[in-house]
Structure formats: C-alpha cells, structure tokens
Amino acid sequence: SLQPIYGARYPPVDPRVLCSLLKDTPKTHAVSVRSKKPATFHEFARSTNDAWDIDDEEDDGGFFTATHSTPVPVQSHPSGEAPRLKEASRLTDTEPEPRSGDRAQPGSTEISQEHLNTDSELCNGRVVKSSSDVQLNSNTERSTLQKQQSLPLRPIIPLVARISDQNASGAPPMTVREKTRLDKFRLLLASSNTNLEDLRKHSWSGIPREVRPITWRLLSKRKENVGVTHKQLYTNISDLLLSFFCRYLREFCLSGRFDIQPAAMCRESTTSSRPSSSSSFPTSHLLTSVHRFNLRLLSLSLSLSLSLSFSLSRSLSLALSLSLFFSKEDVENFEMAALPLETQRNIEADSFWCMSKLLDGIQDNYTFAQPGIQKKVKALEELISRIDEDVHLHFQKFEVEYLQFAFRWMNNLLMRELPLRCTIRVWDTYQAESEGFSHFHLYVCAAFLIKWRKEILSMMDFQGLLMLLQNLPTIHWGNEEVGLLLAEAYRLKYMFADAPRHYKR
C-alpha cells in the first residue's frame, strides 16, 4: 500500500510513535539514517520522515528562512529547491483548496467538517501519487543538474501540504479538541460584528488554519475599522492601501529623505531578486508569479519603511501572502496572474495590512545601526542573567556574546530558527498579544534560549557553543513545541514585564 509522505505531520503514522521516534532521534540520527542504505523505498520514507523538516526550513530558505553556513548535518545536502517547487505547482492543479471557514454558519459545521474530511482524503490520494512521480523527476534532474551527494531517493514535501498542514503537527487531521476550537472560531466569525477581544483571546493558543486568513485580517485591522462588517472591510482595503501608499510616497519625497538609503535598497532588492544560479531559482509558474506579486508588495513596504531589510520583508510578505492565499476558498487555481485583478489586489492588500501591523512597533529594528535590535539583545542578556544564571555565566566563561547569535533572532523574528509552520503559529499569538512583535518576542527568545540550556551547558568551547546556537535543531518542531515555548514566554513576561526590577540582582 502507499505510504503518504509529505512532512512528518500528515501521514497516518501513529503520532505517538512518531513523537517517540523524533524524540529519540537527535540530529545525529538523520546522518546515520542517511548513510545506511534503505532496503525499500517505504522503509526509507518512513525512516526519514523527520528529515522533511530539514528542507522545510532550508527550502523556505530560498524564500523565507534559513540558510546559514550550517555545517551541521542539516546542510550536508543542499536541498533541490527547484524540483520541489515545481511539485508544488503541479499539486495545485489537482488538489482542492481547503475550505475557508469564514463564511460558515454556526449550524453548518457538520457539513463543513464532512467537506474537510473528503478533501483531505482526496488530497491524500493525489499527493501521494504526485509526490512519488515527481520524486523520480527531481532525482534525475538533480543528479544531472547539480552535484548532489548523499540521498539517493528523497521524496518531496509539496509546498502546499507543508503550508496548509502547519496546524496538524503530527496529529491526525482533526482531533475533537481541534474541532471544538474550530467551531468556536466559526461561531465568533459568523456574527456580523465579531468581538475582537474574544477573537484575540482564542487566537492566543493558535488559530485553526481554516479560519486563519480571516482571523489574521481581523486581528490586524485598525481600530477605526471595528464595527465594519467583513465584507465592507474587504472591499475598502484596496483603496485604503492605495491612498496609504500614495501618502507615504509623498511624505518621503517631501521630506527629502530619498537619499542614499533607498537607492542602496533598490539596488539590493534587484540584486537579490536576480537568480543567483539558475538551478536554485524556482522556475515554476507558481513561484514566479508569487515572486512577481511579492515584489510589488515589497515596493510598497520599502516605501513604507525606508530601512526595512529587503530579505526580511520578502520573507515576511511571502509567508504572509502564502498563508493568506492558500486557504482562500475562492481560489481554484494557484496561478496568481490568472486570478482576477481584484482578487490579486485583495490578497496583496491583506498581506500588506498584516505586515504593517506586524511592523508596528519594530520599525527601529530596521533603521540606521538597528537600535531596536541592539536594545533587545541587551534586554535578552539581562533577562537571561536573571532567569538562568548558569547559562549566562557559561556564555561569559567562553566569551560568547549574545549579539553573536541573538542578532538574527531579533532581526528575523526567529524565522530562520523555526520551520515555517511554527513561525506562522507563533504569529497567531503575536497577533493576539497586544505588542506581540515588539515586546512579547523578547520573552519568546528568552524561552527559546533556555529551552536549549542542557545542550548549551554541555558545550565546553566557544566553537561548539556558537555552532549549536547558530543551528538549533528545531527541524521536527510542531505545534506542541511551539505551544510550550509560548507558554514559557508568557510566564516570563508575566513575571518580569510588569516588575522589571523585581528579580534584578
């Protein structure tokens, strides 16, 4: 029988088995698995379930996240990005879109649940099929195109599956608890005047992917829009965006701030968008269209915030738009350019709103000399010295500075340290927190660092410490880990945020 293989999350493998497998397998496992020659393809597929996420992170790399000179196993096999992306676009031709719950009536949850089940079953069959045949393609392609080593057979996680699966996290498609949560969200969203406070409260512990687009939109909505129905908001947004854009453009022109910086920025953005090597650049239809679309979005964000890092805004906006986009109900086809112009503009506008909300309060992260980041790294250092002296002293002993690893954590909001599905889950909470991106992030970073205390304390030299901190093994992380991380961060915030001197040494 066929064993579906798209990510450690989805397959009907018993989650408990999977969990224990993942827990028992530190990063060295991945290496040993790879070096062993698998007897059968299925065996191989099973044994490398956890390897998916490596690419998850890596691949996103092209677009979203990670990279770095990670000389840990993770990097030992540069991922074939192009083939995989091609796969994603092919999938889109066959796979039905997940239903968005935003229009669902409270009474209709039964039906939509049914829909959902059939959908996922359908996907199951198709994804399996297409991922295996693409796998063959990509293999031949890879062996000819690139000097790939290691993995003889590497199934591919479709981009779509990975993105739409972020909420499943190793669990079967939907548990009773998840279903109750979804129902709760649907109930909230179905009312013509959604109570944002309630919505925020519920979002803190994660938003079901079916209702994420509409929820994010509502949470990032400006105050003046409260009371406006979804539909009104939706139609107004594009016009607002345009006027917004024009205003910023005019202001910047008038203030004469169009000096070196934007020029350098544009140069940077053009060089970065230029394919650096043809094999690594996604040639698929999907990606080029999304890419084009994002460049437009970016020109907006660049104007909005003069010093916004290009790669960051690219990652952010792409992540945002993909997550908004992929769960829309009215999109049957992934070809962005084929969408009605209005829909394109809407998606763009939605992403933009979420993004401007996201950047609210962290603008000084991206101005000259990045004072916001410097301040936050200092704050992290102080926080750690108070909550975990052992780790702090260990760093001092080996002359590891916080800036050496935490700079990126702040600059990229942990996007490069976590798989994309986790980043999106973290953002659910950031959207729900009052100052999620600007303030709560610090506590998440602290919790994240302390999470690795055992590993940190076992490293007995500078090199080892830095290599560890640069490549923390989060590849298999799912909702459970992120949930714990956020809970710990909340505890820290609760203890320290309101009493900054309370624990001061």
């Binding site: 540069p78 970065s272 002359e399 050496q404 640069q470």
Partner: protein
C-alpha cells in the same frame, strides 16, 4: 589539538559568495539555497599548513550595508581576511578599496588579506579581468586568487595560503602572536584559556613551548 588558532574574516559586498565560500571550505559542497547572512555567522575548521595544525575561527560577515555597524565590531583582532568580490560584477570590485580601508583600520595593520575573485566558473559573464585584479592586489600588497565556491576551485587554497603567510610572518618575527589583538593564539594556550579565567592566558602563553 591545534598548534595555533587564527581568527579569520570573510568580507566583501553582498552577493559575492562569501557564505558559499565558507560553506564549500568547511563542508566541501556548494550551498545552492543560500540566503542573505544576517549579521555574522561563524565557522571553524582545522587545517594542516607546513606541518602545523591550525584551527581557523572564521567570521563570515553580512555584506549588506545595513549590517555594517554590527559586522565592523568583528574586525578587531583578526589575523587574516578573505576579501571577496564577484568577477561578474564590477560594482563589487569597485567597492574593494572601501573594504580594504575598513579592514586595515579596524582589524590591524598587520592583517594578512587575500583577495578572492569569486564565481570563476561564470567566465562568460566576466566583468573584471584577472590581470586588472592582480594589479590591484599587487599595489595593495594582497595575495590574489580567483575562486569558485560552486566547483570548489581554489577555495581551500585561499584559506590555506592566507594561513601559510601568517605562519611565515610568525616565524620571521614579523608577527608577534603574543601581542594583544593579533588574532593568533597558541593551540594549547587557546584551550587552556577557554577553560580557565582570562587571567591565566598570559601565563599559559609563556609556558607553551611551540
């Protein structure tokens, strides 16, 4: 364990392939999904140069202007540097003077720099000739190699040559490893220093017989 520990820098404009050079050097393969370096990244490798084991502690810096304030703080105490440009981009070549000034000013006068014209494999798109770059290198007392992080050509060579030059300078007395901020440590001393408080460093250096 190593006889020496050298601190190295990799500098140059964004997109010239600094991280890929480092990756190729350490992992012996090409990283084709590279992303912008944020701030700095760290890598380490032990190489054998003229019968000495040298541990390189390499700081791969972000080329983007915005990170300059962060990356500059890593220059201090570097013994060697790879100054990287892209042979298919004149712009990255033209920026070399600035990088050089920065390195000489912020690292140390004695820093040993090797100029690397990267992306040698893209000869068809070349915008900077070998001759021109080698003249520049000569005028500025730099070593020079054309490298390819894709094929691996001259990558190890670049790091090794730089390390060899430093070793030569130590032997000839031109470089004093014990001077503060030289970016050089004796292997044993380095290990001891890492395990014991900083004060012990001076003593252990003197004890060392190498």
């Amino acid at each position: 364990s190593a006889d020496f520990l050298f601190k190295f820098l990799v500098i140059g404009n964004a997109g010239t392939g600094k991280s890929c050079l480092l990756h190729q050097f350490i992992e012996n393969n090409f990283k084709d999904d590279s992303n912008h370096t944020i701030g700095v990244e760290f890598g380490s490798k032990i190489i054998n140069v003229v019968n000495k084991f040298v541990k390189l502690q390499i700081w791969d810096t972000a080329g983007q202007e915005r990170f300059r304030s962060v990356t500059r703080s890593y220059y201090r105490g570097a013994a060697g540097a790879l100054l990287v440009y892209d042979i298919t981009s004149r712009e990255t070549y033209n920026a070399l003077t600035n990088w050089l000034t920065d390195a000489r000013m912020l690292a140390s006068q004695n820093i040993v720099i090797i100029l690397c014209g990267n992306k040698k494999d893209l000869d068809a798109d070349r915008e900077v000739t070998f001759l021109e770059a080698s003249r520049f290198a000569q005028e500025n007392e730099l070593m020079f190699l054309e490298t390819s992080a894709l094929t691996g050509e001259n990558v190890e060579e670049a790091f090794v040559q730089c390390a060899r030059k430093i070793l030569n300078k130590i032997e000839s007395g031109e470089l004093d490893p014990e001077r503060m901020g030289s970016g050089i440590q004796y292997g044993d001393a380095a290990l001891r220093q890492l395990r014991s408080p900083r004060r012990a460093q001076a003593e252990s250096v003197q004890e060392c017989s190498c």
